[in-house]
């Protein structure tokens, strides 16, 4: 039996599945220095990025003269100063580190001023003279698709396309008794983490070290090496805890660490680079705005027969992660249901606005907003209850996903939906609300459900793996070197629990260390809900290897068979006679004395997936996490304001390594989903962002919070991961917007197809309907 099978059946778990206090909470409450900006020391140089003021222009000339004349300015770097490749494109090589001949959005980096202090850096940045020749710009993806549109890239304005051809949609729609067709739009969302992007680069002899908040240490290493023309071993990346990341720092730090590294290498001094809040708003990636035309058909007994979907995701000036985001959306387009006939066409479209990219959910919130709105519209047309209608189509083991993948295990969406509906008494609640609305004049209540699924790990069948290292110290304490970044989600705490569980020690024995590319092999990024599953499984691999050594040394010391050794609470004993025992620390010391290996690397390799680019069909993901949200809202018909009173949530998490950490993720994800649904939107004028601060980009405050009174955890283990656990950090965001808009539909009878659903939109929709009625 392999170690993964052993863990799945392990009994008497002391940490896994239990709620523990976060070991990082104390330091954070004490406000101890932890973050990148807290590592700023005297003597570090400041780098300031000079950004394009034009949405689309040719760079005619750059004059560094005046900037170099500012006292304290040491150098001004432009594209021509880059020793390696001036290329940071992620999926497509379309994005320069520093703009060379052309700029494509307001805020694009053109030059970098490096100075002895912040004042000089800022002053220098103002004085770098850049002469532009303005080009016609295009800000709307539909405009960008027109043949007459200005070309943003030489290849044209379509970065990539996707398709799915499953079954025969024509035939499917012929079988349909009801058909619903709508177009949905979603907006640009900003991550709005409290800590802005910050990087420190320290030059060493023929080497450079990066310290930063981040999500992808090894990608940063690759990018820095590429830009500097270094080998990877000449770049060391040390992860520092992030003050929030949500996908933003996955994309951004690999794009700015090379700038700091370049400045450090050119000046021979450590360099500090930190975005101001307005830079974060103007120049960091955003959630892709989308336009989705969605046609669905079902039979009168409530079976989905066909969906036909056209997806446009606006990637802005550069493709960045867009191809993967679009592909993920495409692969999930039908929602967590079996639909025999599926046709999807996706386009990723360039515009002259800030580039889009990774953001919690990675393309899935947009497509689920459309898919789950459609489900309610179909149910309404069929006169069926939305839960009942979903249950008739929901994915079960043996059924196939949008892209024809047969899901065979850990498919707990049906269980999640049934349990949640039952727990909150869906039918009764719905009736109560409808009764309330009959009496109420000003306020209308509503309840709505939405389901979602989210494939774990990388898209398009790209290879995936992870790594970790465990060291048993001579005193019996354990150093765990994780490859997954600390974003506040607590993934490494989950890993540490797994390590402690396997080694039989309390969690307090484990010292948790974040990624360092010089300390462990590549573990791949902290994204795609893969942190716990892939990193945790690598941790389990390392811990299992060391457990074998501990067991062996203990069996020698206790003179018994290895099979008789048990370890619990740092005590190693002989199962048939527990009085024969030794402390874990003694065995640890003996490992060293007797020459056993005291450290181990652990690895995880994703199962092979398959992807046919001609049809889009294949095995898209090793496993999916499934989520169900039920939202309750109250609509103020006088003002159009929507109050989300509560969101109930259920998910199949495989195995809850820590139910409390999972709940924390649900809370945060739902709050971000709330902002996405009701208030958050980036507003432009001629390509320039108008709301580049927290005053006018409106995220929820404590008074806007949503209660999450019901959390149901379904545990259908995934055999490919340690203890069967799946990642959940992105999950609860995905069905939040449609759950809320479905609830608004229930309250008002109006289907909102565009996010955010602002009070204005609600007010005028209600007014229009009143006009139509009277």
């Amino acid at each position: 039996m392999g170690y993964l099978e052993e863990l799945l059946v392990k009994e008497g778990l002391s940490l896994v599945g239990k709620r523990v206090s976060r070991p990082d909470a104390l330091d954070k409450v004490l406000g101890r220095p932890l973050f990148t900006a807290d590592k700023l020391t005297r003597g570090m140089l400041w780098a300031k990025i000079v950004r394009s003021k034009y949405p689309h222009a040719i760079i005619k000339r750059i004059d560094k003269g005046k900037a170099l004349g500012v006292p304290g300015v040491l150098t001004v770097l432009t594209a021509e100063d880059i020793p390696g490749e001036n290329q940071i494109g992620y999926a497509i090589p379309d994005q320069p580190l520093l703009a060379m001949d052309k700029v494509r959005f307001v805020g694009e980096p053109v030059a970098v001023v490096v100075a002895e202090n912040e004042e000089a850096a800022e002053k220098g940045a103002e004085l770098v003279e850049i002469e532009y020749e303005s080009l016609p710009a295009v800000f709307d993806p539909l405009e960008a698709l027109k043949p007459v549109a200005p070309r943003i890239h030489e290849s044209g304005n379509i970065a990539t396309t996707t398709i799915i051809r499953k079954g025969d949609v024509e035939k499917g729609f012929r079988e349909a008794d009801v058909i619903v067709e709508n177009t949905y739009k979603t907006q640009r969302q900003e991550h709005a983490y409290l800590e802005t992007e910050t990087v420190i680069a320290v030059p060493e002899i023929n080497k450079v070290t990066i310290l930063a908040c981040m999500q992808s240490p090894w990608l940063i290493r690759r990018m820095v090496a590429k830009v500097l023309g270094y080998k990877q071993s000449k770049v060391r990346v040390i992860e520092l805890p992030a003050g929030g990341a949500f996908g933003g720092k996955d994309d951004m730090i690999p794009m700015i660490a090379p700038i700091a590294a370049l400045a450090a290498v050119k000046t021979g001094k450590p360099v500090f680079l930190m975005f101001k809040r307005d830079e974060t708003f103007e120049a960091s990636n955003k959630r892709h705005p989308s336009i989705i035309r969605y046609k669905s058909g079902a039979t009168k007994d409530g079976k989905l027969v066909a969906v036909e979907i056209e997806i446009i995701y606006e990637t802005g000036a550069y493709a960045n992660r867009g191809p993967f985001v679009l592909w993920r959306a495409t692969a999930h387009a039908a929602g967590p249901y079996e639909v025999p006939n599926v046709k999807v066409d996706g386009k990723l479209v360039y515009t002259n606005r800030v580039f889009s990219g990774s953001f919690r959910g990675f393309g899935d919130p947009q497509i689920h907003f459309a898919a789950e709105s459609q489900m309610d519209e179909l149910a309404a047309k069929l006169g069926m209850d939305p839960v009942e209608f979903r249950l008739k189509n929901i994915l079960k083991p043996g059924l196939t996903t949008t892209c024809g993948q047969v899901v065979d295990q850990s498919v707990g969406v049906e269980e999640a939906l049934r349990k949640l509906a039952e727990k909150i008494n869906w039918e009764k609640r719905k009736r109560e609300i409808e009764e309330y609305n009959r009496e109420s004049k000003r306020k209308l209540k509503g309840i709505g459900v939405a389901c979602a699924y989210h494939g774990i790990s990388t898209s398009r069948g790209a290879p995936d793996w992870s790594a970790a290292a465990v060291i048993i110290n001579e005193d019996g304490t354990i150093t765990y070197k994780g490859g997954i970044c600390r974003l506040g989600q607590g993934s490494l705490i989950g890993h540490a629990k797994i390590v402690a569980e396997i080694l039989g020690v309390p969690l307090s024995y484990i010292q948790i260390e974040g990624p360092d590319t010089d300390a462990i092999p590549e573990a791949r990024p902290t994204h795609g809900s893969r942190g716990l599953m892939t990193g945790g499984t690598a941790a389990a691999d390392a811990a299992s290897k060391l457990r074998r050594n501990i067991v062996r040394v203990a069996s020698e010391m206790l003179e018994c068979k290895t099979e008789d050794i048990e370890i619990k609470d740092a005590l190693i004993y002989v199962k048939p006679d527990p009085s024969r025992n030794i402390p874990f620390s003694e065995a640890a010391k003996e490992l060293y004395v007797r020459g056993y290996e005291t450290a181990a690397y652990g690895f995880y390799r994703a199962p092979k997936r398959f992807f046919d680019p001609k049809t889009g069909l294949g095995v898209a993901y090793g496993v999916y996490v499934y989520i169900v949200n039920i939202a309750e809202v109250e609509v103020d018909t006088w003002t159009g304001q929507v109050k989300v009173e509560r969101v109930h949530t259920a998910a199949d998490v495989g195995k809850a390594i820590d139910p409390d950490l999972i709940e924390q993720q649900f809370h945060g994800a739902i709050a971000q989903g709330l902002g996405l649904t009701l208030t958050e939107d980036i507003v432009f004028s001629d390509g320039k962002i108008l709301n580049n601060n927290y005053t006018d980009y409106v995220i929820p405050t404590v008074k806007d919070r949503v209660e999450v009174p019901t959390v149901v955890l379904v545990e259908q283990p995934y055999k490919g991961a340690a203890f069967g656990a799946k990642g959940v950090a992105e999950a609860a965001l995905i069905p939040t917007p449609p759950a809320i808009t479905n609830a608004i539909r229930h309250a008002t009878g109006i289907r909102f197809k565009e996010l955010p659903v602002t009070p204005e939109k609600v007010y005028f929709a209600l007014k229009k309907r009143r006009g139509e009625k009277s």
Binding site: S21, R22, D24, A25, L26, D27, K28, V29, L30, G31, R32, P33, L34, F35, A37, D38, L40, H191, A192, Y193, L194, E195, T196, P241, A242, G243, G244, A245, F246, K276, R277, L487, G488, Q489, G490, D660, L661, E663, Q664, H667, G668, A669, I670, A671, Q672, N693, Y694, T695, I699, P700, T701, V702, K703, R705, V706, E707, V708
Partner: protein, 162 residues
Amino acid sequence: MNETGNLKIKFTLNGKPIEYMVKPNWTLLDLLRKELSVLSPKEGCSRGDCGACTVLLNGKPVNSCLVLAPQIDGKEIVTVEGLIEDKEFKALKETFIEKGAVQCGFCTPGIIVSAVALLREKGNPTVQDIEEALEGNLCRCTGYIRIIEAVKQAAEKLQKTS
């Protein structure tokens, strides 16, 4: 003030008297972080929108990014570093850990400062009181649910012990 326009100010920081030559265009946040290495107040927005830099000025929570350094002459400044022995802080520390009210931790020091001020003023705060005390502290990770619970529970703890 000297000829360069810098001026010497006296204030107490976490109970300790300090004399320091400041530039008028420094904010209190700059002074704390860059000059005095008091790092618990964080720079989140520099314009009073997020509350990550909240400190106590004469006992009241303020955004230290919106206070100019010369303005604290003769005043008392307290940050989390100076609250460690405080009974309200101790109660909050316990409940924030118990309730898992911390995720990334970047907004946490500001929230703790705001919560300490609340608990000093109101022994038995209602949920509305807590909301009002924390409405100027943005958090993007937690959805605030656990934070409210932790402050409420800290208040109850303090009530019991007093």
